[in-house]
Symmetry: D2
Subunit: 299 residues, 4 copies
């Protein structure tokens, strides 16, 4: 049932077969930019975008993202990495190089609320989400037919207090070894530390409040009770601390005393959809570096 | 030294000598609007604006704000109130009637940070803040000359842990008996419950965070540490619970990893100025009703 | 193929079988509110929400929206209307009364760009759009299967310069006589004055710019060429003047020099979806009054 | 009369005596970043921030802003420039190097509306505007005492249709030869092409609408007549085309049918203040490059 995959869906990435992105973080010091740009120039790479940020000029951290085109990238990438390791070592860099044409593979986790999943599927189908949605995992069967109508496998894995460990084992099994990032699209189960460790800074959650306000459950009910005039949503990487991981993106909307909890939820759904989709887009475009409990987003 | 009082400063209110505003809250029930509007019609009042809100149609609270013109208001207001008391009693109303031409009298409290005070003075001078600024109270002497250059009395009352009770006694003394509302324009001292009791729902504070996030001290440092992507400010009525009173208005602005604590403070100053000025404007235009710990704002 | 209609889709309106909404506009004058509220009280109606606005107290226009509950509404509505006509005549009112349980029937027009249609279908399916989507009309066949999978009839009526008159005749035919409002969800054909006349202030268009900037074709290319820092979208009622009808709602988002035309389009799609959905929601909740070329929106 | 210059006003720039900023624009090509960063490294400069943008990778324009620290900058800058000219020539660069400790000198033009001037003075006094306000020029005498109370010279130069040429001659005379940028802070006279030519891309105007909507006079009246739901303001460089120059910054605020022209003006004043102040800040921090009729803003 391929019904929903409309013809205009095309791969953006295929347009750039020779493009790569490099993410670097290291202690700041003189000569980093010169060394990296010289290295790329010597390898005939053309820098098409570059962003950098120094947390504190005197002895802080340095962050960099470079997008470059390199003729014959596919054949030369491994050699390039090997040679770059020398520079990386000299400056004590954490670094990664991604090939733009290698699409990231996503696993989406969802419970009963479907709006975030529907948004991601729609953006993916419209060609705005340049990744492969490899599978959907849910503790409920509700969205099975819908997801499968896009040609995407749907794994219904129930979770109870008793079966949690076993359920996570099954989740890891169906995810396999080649998933780049997991999206919790209103997945209402808490992930165990062991699971998080597998996907450190690669699990994105959408929390339905303007964190750190209203941590935990029922944030719209909390927001209504407190009488706030603006509500929001927060996309963040999942860490062991509930709703405490590095914030990727937030957005808000004005509300008034006329909006009851149901109306807050309705308004919030649109904020959640937009915020999560932005965070996912930035992640798959390699725009996010994490340092301690914060993000640097080059967007 | 009248230097700053520019000629264009004019009283908006004088344009409406016969206008009044009525605020009502009561348990909801049939016939309230009919009774009130009939009453006003019978007294030859013309309703120029009316807002109402019912918290929950089935047995909830009813809130209403009516602006009306009444020929000969000055002479007839007392009689009007006396007669309205009968209707008010029938529906168990909390109610107030304000004469628009009777400007509210403000006391502004300030510490060292002057941006919120400067904004209020500028809006007042531009004719956008339709009230009388009766006096400024500060625990520092810094702004004395500046405030007095507007022809406004400035009371420097130092506050220390030891002198707090005495300081509050002197504050109440200089304020006197005819101040309608106290504005804490970045006044960094905690107000005692006894003082708050004197001015229940008539003390407006600006908190430099998006409450309930970052309650308490140094909210911009807290926001920086948490890595939020949006910062905000909150104007609220002061209650015994620190930063926990009814929220009047909030606003926010987007920030990024590039903004350090000083830059957050700088950005925040503009948000604080705008949010506090809006809250004060709504208060002096009788647009705010407080119910339990929340506000109904008819704006 | 009922696949997409998930069980949680429920009728909001059925919860309020006895609720009605009244919209009034008339020259301002004393006694209007008193007369209307007295009338409703005498008929045992309970006002649950009421908004009014006077364009200019001295001799301007008066606008009012009242939501009320009336026991036995279904049986008594015709009688109520007959009796209200007397008051309406006295104050020269334009007025309408709508039964909330009578859902509005929508026809959606679409061309090739599907994001606004998809949003409306999603909101409708989620129970957030309290109306019946009676049919979809398109000058392209592309969305046929998708729309029909929701159980909604899809009429493919091609339009060319030569066949335009005949195409509009067919459109009116398939629409029939009981459609309340037509939504142009990125329908890229100009509607003829004769067609507009049939549905005066009942055709809502989404224009993909912040009107009146960038009237006409290719607004994102225009916005890119001008180098604006914010883009937007506008929902308006269609009139004979292209992109010149009464504005219902607008929203915007910040962009930068990094965003090329395709990126502006991508960002714009989300703004368009949100703005159009809000305008449709307000229309079906009877929140909009049109006066001359402007709207009064009680939201 | 030094009354308003409060002690906390301090020079940010003095904290960075060895910091410089370089702005570059040139046709894109390989090796630019490598050459520039190598050049700076060889001269012992430490890059503290760097932004670049390529309009179109294949044959477009390349823009770059670099902030760097260079020990002994004061003595070495001229030599640095001389040597950089060789690289600049190789890549056909337009380029400039600014010493951060050399504060930019501003001339502010104002007419009767004072809010933008007051905002700039307040931000300058608070230490948030890191520049010298060298003088204020006005076609009205109203603000003389106020401006002079800050220790800033005020030149009242009346302008009429007949005296316009002579008035501009006098304006250029009082400005002298060392003004970096002219701020039109609601200056309501049209500047002649000859004057503009003297200060190409160095005159910043605040237009009180969301350009290109409502070009020309009385934009708030135009906005009211059109019934827009959002109003805005635009800061742009002045060119020969009225309100047509490169846009630097825009911002907006939501309004409703309740806001008449005076209320739109009142709301607009705050938007204008904020937008103009941001544009001025970015200009004096050398964050803006102009290409054709658009800006690249590295903020």
């Amino acid at each position: 049932m391929e019904l929903h995959v409309k013809p205009e869906h095309s791969s953006n990435t295929s347009a750039y077969p020779e493009r790569a992105r490099m993410l670097i973080s290291c202690p700041d010091g003189p000569g980093i930019v010169a060394a990296v740009s010289r290295f790329l120039f010597d390898h005939e790479a053309n820098i098409v975008q570059s962003d950098q940020y120094t947390m504190d000029p005197a002895g802080g951290m340095f962050f960099m993202r470079i997008e470059f085109d390199l003729p014959g990238l596919d054949d030369r990438l491994e050699q390039l990495k090997t040679e770059f390791a020398e520079i990386a070592g000299r400056f004590s860099m954490n670094w990664q190089i991604f090939q733009v044409s290698h699409k990231k593979r996503l696993a989406i986790f969802v419970s009963k609320e479907d709006h975030c999943l529907v948004e991601l599927l729609w953006q993916w189908q419209a060609g705005d989400l340049d990744a492969d949605i490899a599978l959907v995992v849910s503790n409920h069967p509700d969205m099975k037919e819908y997801v499968e109508s896009f040609g995407i496998p749907y794994h219904h894995i129930p979770v109870t207090a008793e079966t949690k460990t076993e359920a996570e084992r099954r989740q890891l099994e169906v995810i396999g070894n080649d998933i780049d990032v997991i999206i919790l699209a209103r997945y209402m189960q808490i992930i165990s530390p062991a699971f998080i460790e597998h996907y450190r800074h690669r699990i994105i959650n959408i929390h339905h409040s303007f964190l750190p306000a209203f941590v935990g459950g029922k944030p719209y009910a909390q927001a209504y009770a407190r009488g706030v005039k603006i509500i929001g949503a927060t996309a963040h990487y999942v860490t062991e601390e509930l709703d405490g991981g590095p914030i990727i993106e937030q957005d808000v909307q004005r509300v008034s005393h006329r909006d009851d909890v149901n109306e807050l939820k309705r308004i919030g759904r649109t904020i959640e959809r937009v915020v999560l989709a932005r965070a996912v887009k930035w992640h798959i475009e390699d725009r996010i570096l994490v340092h301690q409990n914060k993000t640097v987003v080059f967007n």
